[in-house]
């Protein structure tokens, strides 16, 4: 027993990371979904789609006509009768046909791509726009990565279907039927004979291909696993080196790498069978053609046989069999994958915003910033109530602080004011209007939310501040930065306001990011400011700057602050102490200290720390 535990411990690091890759790669066929996808073709039905189909018909027709001309006319008539004149005509005719098919191909490729790209553009635009309109609840439950995958990869995986897939499907069915009809017209007996390869070809293009596809899917899963680990190991390299786990991780990776290698080998050994199988089936077809065809030629046309030209045409067509069958198999695969992707896309498109606007919603011309909660109850899910019948009033221009532990309901109150969620019962009013009667954009245009961790978009500092109000001039941006005291550090940067920044970059410190978000909020010139104070690591000097900036930012506005710093709390007009979704007490600092209630205890504990150590 103890031996096994030892064994386990020794190999523990070989199983130390867990990566789950569970995205379904294909789904069963579903007509309804196909139909819905096809509606995206509608705007282009009379232009690109029609054009592409015509161009496709032209090149297919030429492809089918030429072997007949060469075989039936050139060989059987011109060459046999030694008719040089006819041969010349034929050559010119075929040349012209090829020219026609050349032009047809140019337009087919052009239109097919225009069609595909426009459809994908529309679909992606539709999806992105829709996602922008969705409410907080939607984003609460999903990771950024999973949303990204749908907007980018799932739409992209439909690209091939819309570009070549649909046209190829039509073209291949036409070609296949065309060949079969022609072969049976030329010689029913020989046609029937060479058809023996059809079932074999279908087997290869469906069953064998499915096996191969499955094995490649396994490769992809192994690769995602490996890539997840690589990505993580690079990001966590400092931790790894701090704990000197380099060797252990290398051993772990060796395992992942080996799994990946094995899956490749399996997939490769299966897919290497594909070509030999195809060629064998072609060879069987050829053997049938040679043995039975030769027999028929020798019989001669008068005795139910064929002429040499027919034989030549057959040889050509036999070679043309494989491509359409193979592509049909591919299109079928594409469709199955499209099922999975489109299901995920439609799932998002069918998602409705939880917070919806009334048709006759009113617009705020001007907002004073008076806020009233009347018996507001709220729960994020059915199990846990986040707010219990909260009633409170915030006068225009007042600064209030929300104080309490994580989960006490501070953020919920803030989120309800911006109407990121609707209360389960009760009403939230701003300037006397129930928020449900107000236009969302008009409400939010008058409210600025400054979050604990400010998001920095890649772009210049100027652009990042201007995000608060896109039509602000450079001067206004700089003015805002000056007011909050961000101007100093910005001008110290290499390119000043033109310095390129990004979310993961380390050009800006936590404190500087805060100041930037203040400038952004100030530029928007809101009537109400909601501020989630940062707990992040900020040195004391910067902290002082932030406090000063904050005062200037809040001046003359209604402010709701989810407060962590005593100094902020103390300066508030009204402090609400929350616990488990209820207001325990409220009043200004002095009043609450006198009361010696929960607030008093909280403040005391902060100083205790200093003394206790």
């Amino acid at each position: 027993m103890s031996e096994t535990t030892n064994e386990n411990k020794k190999d523990r690091h070989l199983k130390r990371f867990h990566y789950t890759i569970d995205q379904a790669i294909e789904k069963p066929f579903n007509w309804q979904q196909i139909w819905r996808l096809l509606t995206y073709l509608k705007p282009y039905a009379k232009t690109y789609l029609l054009g592409a189909i015509i161009a496709m018909i032209v090149s297919t027709a030429v492809r089918l006509a030429v072997p007949i001309i060469i075989g039936k006319v050139a060989f059987d008539v011109a060459i046999e009768n030694k008719d040089v004149g006819l041969l010349t005509y034929l050559v010119i005719a075929i040349g012209l046909l090829y020219l026609l098919s050349y032009v047809g191909n140019i337009y087919r490729i052009k239109w097919v791509n225009l069609l595909g790209q426009n459809v994908i553009y529309d679909l992606r635009q539709h999806l992105f726009t829709h996602v922008q309109r969705l409410s907080h609840r939607f984003f609460d439950n999903r990771s950024a990565g999973s949303i990204l995958v749908r907007i980018m990869n799932d739409t992209n995986s439909l690209q091939e279907l819309f570009t070549n897939g649909i046209i190829n499907l039509l073209m291949d069915i036409a070609t296949l039927l065309g060949i079969i009809v022609i072969l049976f017209t030329l010689s029913p007996k020989l046609a029937l004979a060479v058809m023996v390869i059809l079932p074999l070809m279908f087997y290869i293009s469906t069953k064998l291909r499915r096996k191969i596809r499955r094995s490649w899917q396994n490769v992809r899963i192994q690769q995602s696993r490996m890539n997840s680990h690589l990505n993580e190991s690079i990001q966590g390299i400092r931790i790894t080196q701090s704990f000197s786990q380099e060797k252990e991780n290398t051993e772990f990776f060796n395992g992942v790498n080996t799994d990946n290698f094995q899956s490749w080998r399996t997939a490769s050994s299966k897919s290497a069978m594909f070509r030999p199988f195809v060629e064998m089936s072609n060879a069987i077809g050829t053997v049938v053609l040679i043995s039975y065809g030769a027999h028929l030629i020798i019989l001669g046309p008068s005795d139910g046989g064929i002429k040499l030209g027919t034989f030549v045409s057959f040889a050509f067509f036999l070679g043309m069999f494989w491509d359409p069958i193979s592509r049909l198999g591919q299109v079928y695969n594409q469709l199955l994958m499209a099922m999975a992707s489109s299901e995920r896309i439609f799932e998002y498109l069918d998602e409705q915003p939880n917070v919806s606007e009334k048709d006759n919603a009113i617009e705020f011309e001007e907002m004073k910033g008076h806020i009233a909660f009347d018996k507001v109850q709220f729960s994020y899910d059915s199990e846990r109530i986040a707010l219990h019948e909260i009633s409170l009033e915030i006068k225009a221009g007042e600064t209030i602080a929300l104080v309490g532990h994580t989960g006490s309901g501070k953020s919920t109150i803030a989120n309800l004011i911006s109407r990121f969620y609707d209360p389960t019962s009760g009403t939230v009013k701003v300037d006397g209007h129930d928020l449900k009667d107000v236009k969302l954009s008009s409400l939010r245009n008058h409210i600025s939310v400054v979050l604990q961790d400010t998001f920095i978009f890649s772009g210049t500092i100027m652009e990042n501040i201007r995000f608060g109000r896109p039509d602000a001039s450079d001067e206004e941006v700089i003015e805002a930065a000056k007011v909050v005291g961000a101007n100093d550090f910005i001008e110290r940067l290499a390119d000043g306001y033109s310095t390129e920044v990004e979310e993961r970059g380390n050009i800006l410190s936590a404190g500087e990011r805060q100041l930037l978000s203040f400038a952004r909020a100030l530029l928007a010139n809101p009537s109400i400011i909601i501020l989630d104070e940062a707990t992040a690591s900020i040195d004391t000097e910067t902290e002082v700057k932030i406090q000063n900036a904050l005062r200037r930012l809040l001046k003359g506005r209604t402010a709701i602050i989810i407060a962590h710093r005593l100094s902020t709390i103390r300066e508030s007009d009204n402090i609400f102490v929350l616990e488990q979704g209820k207001i325990l007490e409220n009043g200004d600092h002095d009043e609450l200290m006198e009361q010696k209630g929960e607030y008093y205890e909280l403040v005391k504990s902060q100083f205790q720390m200093l003394d206790a150590m």
Partner: protein, 583 residues
């Protein structure tokens, strides 16, 4: 070629796969060219001369040949693949190993995205070339040569006609390749931009919604979305221009064959079967030619990929263990003797003439503005960087004399940004020491004030963290990171702003717990809050890489220096706050 020579040690040991694969390629190509010959023989020798009796022989012979070809094709492809994936397996292991060793200095200047693209796209490019690209070049050359030989054997004039078309095709292929590859890069770049745009939008969704900038964002997205569409269409237009043209040249060649060949057959200078064979042979030349550009491009890309891989494999290892490096338990006596550190040459010093002495068990507090050098000091103790001047000693030996693992396994680090791995909470805590027992893990979690919230989770210590795992608050992550550091039972403990992201009450709890943990260990505490380092035995106040003030809290608080200023800012209102009525 130099690139491939340098990478030789990865692929050369597996050369047998490659050569056997090549051996079978000869069969494949040879038999391919036999097909038109059989067609010709059937038409001219059997049919035209009405010799039925040959048919079974031809049919069986053909089937046998095709069977051999099938097996050869299989082996050629499979062994070729195996050559590629085996090589790449070893390349990946070496890359990973190297990446584990490369120093902080390397990672300071590297972007995760860039390294990832080398590990994925470049490794794949290299594999593809080994598996298929190189053999494909040989195949093309063989096929064209053999086909031409057969053609010349059948009819010299007709072969010349075919050859006349080749230069035209070659020019078109060349032009096409020259234009299509930059266009493809354009698509990839544009897709990357679109991807970044969406990623930013979603990650910053809170900000977007807070400022109700949805329409603005939709506008920006449309721009990127359209740019991608335009880039794609630009590429497809290149295809539309050249691809039909290539096909047309091939077809034109076939028409010329028909005209001239038909004439030759009519004038009995050639047999009809030979003409039919020509129609197949001409595509054996045209097809590979169309592919040639692609393959050559593969070659140059594989070379570029190889170079990028070599950049990692040959990356400079700044931190190298000495040959007779020492490996002995560390008590935790840390001494800095006039240490100066510069991260990038010719840059300002990050640390200037730092000296201090911390015997085992001593608690050192480091305070100062962002960028003043607090973190740099701790990173020298673990030898993540090497000082430019001066010495960093642990237990009297320079840190460079130790085996790296021996040194670091005695130092527990809690970094400012607590990075946790995609695995269970248990494995995260055990990260530094896979041999710990369950009791030790729970004990570490308890000491870090993490046990209670962990037990509140549905899966307790088995809760998975990471992208798809449970989301933790900043404070919770930090406490797990602290437990992870405690779990290795270090002699030296470094807390780099470890409690900044937790609320006051939790901080208080953690501080008390840490006080217990720090007993008997040399500890370095980096903090902005006076409360976090008040109890330190010595506090170093840093400004621009220099120690400007040092002493205990009681000394510094009356020193009229920067420390006192920080103290005043943080605590001046204390009385006013606690006793409002008294003011």
């Amino acid at each position: 070629m130099d690139t491939f020579k340098k990478l030789k040690k990865f692929y050369w040991p597996h050369r047998k796969y490659f050569f056997i694969s090549l051996f079978f390629l000869f069969f494949v190509t040879g038999i391919t060219v036999v097909y038109p010959i059989i067609l010709q023989l059937t038409i001219d020798e059997v049919v035209a001369k009405e010799r039925y009796s040959f048919i079974p022989y031809i049919a069986i012979g053909f089937l046998v040949l095709m069977f051999i070809k099938g097996i050869s094709t299989y082996l050629h492809q499979y062994l070729g693949d195996l050559f590629g994936i085996t090589t790449v397996f070893h390349v990946r292991n070496s890359l990973y190993k190297k990446l584990q060793i490369l120093s902080f200095k390397y990672y300071d200047n590297a972007k995760t995205g860039d390294i990832m693209s080398r590990l994925t796209a470049d490794v794949e490019g290299f594999r593809f070339f080994l598996s298929a690209g190189f053999a494909e070049l040989i195949r093309i050359a063989l096929l064209i040569l053999m086909s031409l030989s057969v053609m010349f054997y059948y009819s010299i004039p007709l072969a010349l006609v075919t050859m006349a078309a080749m230069p035209f095709l070659a020019i078109v292929v060349f032009k096409f390749d020259k234009r299509v590859h930059p266009a493809f890069r354009g698509i990839r770049k544009s897709f990357g931009r679109l991807n970044t745009r969406v990623q930013e939008n979603i990650s910053g969704m809170q900000t977007v919604k807070s400022l109700s900038r949805e329409d603005f964002e939709i506008g920006r997205f449309s721009g990127s979305n359209d740019n991608y569409r335009q880039n794609y269409l630009k590429t497809s237009n290149i295809w539309a221009k050249y691809f039909p043209l290539m096909e047309f040249i091939g077809n034109f060649c076939a028409v010329a064959l028909l005209a001239f060949g038909g004439y030759l057959v009519i004038s009995s200078q050639m047999q009809p079967g030979e003409l039919v064979a020509f129609f197949s042979l001409v595509w054996y030349i045209m097809g590979p030619l169309m592919n040639l550009g692609f393959v050559i491009n593969q070659f140059s890309q594989a070379k570029a990929s190889g170079e990028r891989l070599l950049e990692i494999l040959e990356g400079k290892e700044d931190i190298v263990e000495k040959e007779n490096a020492i490996n002995k338990p560390i008590k935790g006596h840390v001494t800095f003797d006039d240490v100066t550190l510069t991260y990038v040459e010719d840059d300002d010093e990050a640390l200037k003439n730092i000296s201090f002495d911390a015997p085992p068990g001593k608690v050192v507090g480091l305070i100062g503005a962002t960028g003043s050098g607090k973190t740099s000091i701790t990173q020298l103790i673990t030898r993540f960087y090497e000082p430019e001047q001066g010495q960093v000693l642990v237990d009297g030996h320079p840190v460079s004399d130790y085996q790296i693992k021996a040194l670091r396994k005695h130092i527990g680090f809690v970094l400012q940004e607590s990075f946790l791995f995609s695995t269970t909470i248990r494995e995260n805590i055990a990260y530094g020491n896979p041999n710990v027992t369950e009791e030790q893990i729970v004990d570490a979690a308890k000491r870090a004030q993490a046990h209670d919230f962990i037990m509140d989770m549905p899966n307790g210590y088995d809760t998975l963290l990471g992208e798809r795992g449970m989301g933790l608050s900043g404070g919770q992550k930090q406490r797990i990171a602290i437990a992870r550091a405690i779990c290795i039972n270090p002699s030296i403990l470094v807390l780099d702003d470890a409690t900044s992201a937790v609320d006051m009450e939790t901080e208080f709890k953690i501080q008390q717990a840490l006080k217990e943990v720090m007993k008997g260990r040399t500890s370095f505490i980096i903090a902005h809050r006076i409360s976090s380092l008040k109890h330190a035995d010595e506090i170093l106040v840093l400004e621009e890489g220099k120690i400007v003030e040092r002493g205990t809290h009681d000394e510094l608080v009356e020193n009229n220096g920067p420390y006192q200023r920080i103290y005043d800012i943080q605590y001046q209102d204390r009385d006013a706050i606690m006793n409002p009525s008294a003011v």
